[in-house]
Amino acid sequence: MSTQTMAGASPMISREERHRRRVLQRGAVYLALTLLGILFTIPFLWLLSTSLKPPAQLFKLPPEWIPNPFTWNNYPRALTAIPFFSYLRNTLYISLFNVVASVISCSLVAYGFARIQWPGRNLLFLVLVSTLMIPFPVTLIPTFLIFRDLGWINTPNPLTIPALTGNAFFIFLLRQFYMTIPEELSSAARIDGAGELQIYWQIILPLARPVLAVVALFAFMSNWNDFLGPLIYLSDRNQYTLAIGLYGFLSRSGSAWGPLMAAATMMVAPIIVLFFLTQRTFIQGITLTGIKG
């Protein structure tokens, strides 16, 4: 672990010595991060490079990095395999619904678990975590029966409405964050006569922005990539999502690496855009917490 290099900045040593060490330490940090960054980016570049290569070049030894010639053919092939834009609309509806619903419901529920003391709280919280421990194959059919009885089969409802009731993963995550916020902030507000809802809205929520951004991002990602849910609950092709389409495409294309990598790239690209957009929220989060400190 490179943090080791940060050890022991003794106040006894001279200014220049300290400066020298600082530079060295910085250098070590950047070196470590950059090496690791390259290591983690290589597969991704390989994904891109493969998606742009002509088939014959894929099997050259040793492997070549630069597509020669650049070929876009894999993208239309992946694109035309599915009605991209109508699936995109369906996917966006489901994903955005989940983002909004999850952020609202989970942040409320987590407040109840983190910021108010009440008997039975820890027990119910353990129940909440336990619901994550049952593997999906054995609850899939009874869950399907519930949605059938609600008349939701062949509608996007099974993929959206449950988000209104929160999601154990996000609730747990938010609870952990809420619990790091000093209690004085709440008790001071209570003394001023603020109700719990007011404290939630005016104090906790603004402070939790970084993690709410994480929740939003994860909610979007998991719905964007989910294929099992849509596969089971949707039968009407007009309601299909991108993940079903791309899953179907991936599953039929075996090791047609070029088109596969193109399809994967297209699936990932919108999330990258989203990530860059939410980066701003992350940064806002920093400034806010800065004020708070």
Partner: protein, 312 residues
Amino acid sequence: MAHMPDLAAGRRRGLSPMVQRNLISGLLFISPWLSGVVIFTIYPIVASFSYSLTSYDVISPPRFIGVENYVSAFTSDPLFYQAVGNTFFYALIFLPLSMLIAVSVALLLNLDVRGLTVYRTLFFLPSIVPEIASAMLWGWILNPQFGLVNALLKAIGVPTLGWLSDPDWSKPALILIGLWGFGSSMVIYLAALQDIPRQLYEAAEMDGAGAFTKTWHVTLPMLTPTIFFNLVLGLIGTFQYFTTAFVVTGGSGGPAGSTTFYAMLIYNNAFRYFKMGYASALAWMLFAFVFILTWIIFKTSGRWVYYEGERA
């Protein structure tokens, strides 16, 4: 809990008005989740548990057979022990490694690094690739003949490996693939790091603390709630590990059974062999095991997880 010194006293006389008020507002806050549990969660959980005591093929009605499913896992499933072994192997190596990497990188990025957004994106990018797509990508990168990794090994004169087609290397290969996606937990750590009040660092600096001391005495304690979260969910997740191995090895669990994981057994029994009863029994044994581990972690968490909001 400083504001509730009367909790114990309140218990004795029934609930005090304050506890009552807290109970009501607490329940109100969690009511969305409670209603979700009632509508969507209770029935499937109860149903799957009752399936585990039956012979049930999903199509015809279940028939009660007591604990037979639980017994036959140990006595007559040719894959059970291998699957348990493989799952432990994966979990015991993957979970500590991925937590270590995620915390370390997050801490490094927290050192006021210039170009933070670039690094953050670099490390996070892999975790947004859909699991199926990343499994395909790695199958290609680890291809023994045309893959990038073996080409590198060849270039530096090291013997190449069979990776996913070699029983000795298939699990390490899967661990490698899993580690590539550490970015999602790193993002959680980063968010947590941003929530640490500056004043704590300032106070430490005034005491003459260096970067390492600050990290060890301020940052890490403040991160423990998040580490706790990632530990519990990592545990739950790795013991249900499934998709990548399934895609990469064709659901065969091969080569030579080396990638037959416990969750794959559950899936195959439920949907390929029409043995929902047996699959449910497997699932509930997994539940019991993970629950006990989680419960131990919860019980011991008071000793190492530090909640600023719960300071007395």
